[in-house]
Point group: C2
Chain length 405, copies 2
Amino acid sequence: MNSPSISERGLQTPESPIRKLAPYAEEAKNKGINIFHLNIGQPDISTPTEFFDAVKNFKDTVIAYGPSNGLLQMRKNMKEYYHRNGYKHIDISDILITTAGSEAVIFSMMAVASPGEEIITLEPFYPNYNGFASMAGIKLIPVATNPENGYHLPDRKLIEEKITSKTKAILYCSPNNPTGTILTQQEIEIIADIALKNNLFVLSDEVYREFVFEGQHVSSLSIPEIEDRAVMMDSLSKRYSVCGMRIGTIVSKNKDVMDTVLKFGQARLCPPTLEQHAASAIVASGDKYFDKMLKEYNKRRDTIYDYLNDISGVFVKKPKGAFYMMVTFPVDDIEKFSRWLLTDFQVDGNTVMLAPGPGFYKTEGKGKQEARIAYVLNCDDLKRAAMILKQGVEVYTSKKVNVEV
Amino acid sequence: MNSPSISERGLQTPESPIRKLAPYAEEAKNKGINIFHLNIGQPDISTPTEFFDAVKNFKDTVIAYGPSNGLLQMRKNMKEYYHRNGYKHIDISDILITTAGSEAVIFSMMAVASPGEEIITLEPFYPNYNGFASMAGIKLIPVATNPENGYHLPDRKLIEEKITSKTKAILYCSPNNPTGTILTQQEIEIIADIALKNNLFVLSDEVYREFVFEGQHVSSLSIPEIEDRAVMMDSLSKRYSVCGMRIGTIVSKNKDVMDTVLKFGQARLCPPTLEQHAASAIVASGDKYFDKMLKEYNKRRDTIYDYLNDISGVFVKKPKGAFYMMVTFPVDDIEKFSRWLLTDFQVDGNTVMLAPGPGFYKTEGKGKQEARIAYVLNCDDLKRAAMILKQGVEVYTSKKVNVEV
């Protein structure tokens, strides 16, 4: 007899789109080629010293379970952080500490939608939303945005026409991964209004809330009309360069949602204890860390933008936030181009790795000319990466013309 | 308009059964009463010094993402651990590092069953299986065991008659939480045979695998016939007293299962990085830590067992593993009795907190005379707790007779 077959849910869960290229990157490395990783969102900026100090000064002799909603001190410090940001109506009881933004998103999705129900989200989107939706048995319904207007909110009719009796929420991310777009006050208000008129939850992924270079971040928590239905998902990973720490939050004034995510939290017992102690210390240290970091990322944004903009045939709008941009390349199939960069191209032993656009779309055939670029390298490396990309585009497109002729 | 309603899944997820008593414990504490916590499985034994050394000696300046399947060193060290245990056929590719046993269980359940499908498990069981099943939309089908034969495997017919076209797996825990029962080689083979004959997966929760006082732990990994369908879920939490560390594993030779849990793992990015470094160090330090710990727990088991056995009307069989026992009390409603201990009873300012039996059963009405006792206190405290319990039973049962007359 054959082995039993895994679940339909397992089959439907997509593989990480970035992972598809991993074997080619591995091969390139084995050939001694240096890869500039523009494909991943792992910041290179040093974690605050407060993290390491707190870890070294940890006094308990047992690494014990903490409360399922998080250590009280951690929740208090997060409350202070949100108060500093102007959301003075947030109480400790509105905050659950999660095992990073990942858990914040899946718990929030599960709290508002059951298997078979639907959540609408703007496309392109963070690919792991697909994974979470598959795991939870939820149908993710994409609404397209487009490069030309900088991936901003489409006409509200395009969102409203996707709403069915099964729709439970609108999920959006601002500042956005992968586009870097910051939705305006007006846009958040339109989403809020749609949610109100159609009795939907609003799930806002604000893990890049500190990465704002122009304009202003508007939180779902700042819209009084949706206080009863806004669920904010947050993470310390990016803003303190602690991606491996795995500490995030869910924030909502909706008591049913908070009771529900607490029940999910009880099932998994607690987020990591020592990490919460350390996270608590960095949040208590205030927001000064962000200033220097933002200055650095802003410089990087300008650098990579200027160089990319200079490549013939490339289209990119300068995004206002996060540390990503979606870039449209003069190629038919970005996955082939990205693979080619790894397998067949190099400049003095260096090449570049991109995150191909289709991984950020659910709609078949979309994103085939786009790639996400994460500017988490220093400016010198970004310049070198952009120069390689420029030459790569030139060689690939001319080669291609030859092939096609 | 009212707020949108949370998901049916959220409504169906049970609250932690232990949490129901929490407000009464809180009240007792506010009255200055000391509570001996026999209700929770948080060991008091010191975490190995290797954990703290590794944390202090961590050299990276960035707490970065690790691989989704876990740090390579961690996986290597776990492989060595399983080899030391005799499972020499386990390769690194058969191991995924999880964010504790909790994630190991929910990923495994999700990998084998889709929403609406069924998993059979022995009752009483670890209450969070209920939470995970609700989150995953899976139906958990209990098969009763009973106190008289020490909660051992029931007649195989009783298991087989629960199998439907929707059944995907048999899930069991040995050494068992909450009963302390260790399933014998023969019993594991019966489960294996049922799984083979009915094309089911075998999910074995072995987080207490080191807590064996008599007899032997038999892993699902040691039964060659089910190599293609056994999924072992493990955790370092209890055996190294690192419950707040949140590091566990999924181990399986079934490639589809491993590919699937890796996809789930990619969605949530990675387990905590620093914790994996520290976990890696404690696993590398070998198994000496267990000897001392086991000796201590064995003493505790004997102590609490002798005292409980001495209480008139109490029924308890001495379990062979884990650090729990299920105890049958001469009361009609264990939840009322447990509450009464907190609200109306004390001996010199002390009382005892139990984990009421019904929380460990899915079948309505079951476990009403039982409570789970965790012997994670030192022997002196256990003696005092048992003495209080003895007096409590005497007062409660005589009082009850009075009330009923």
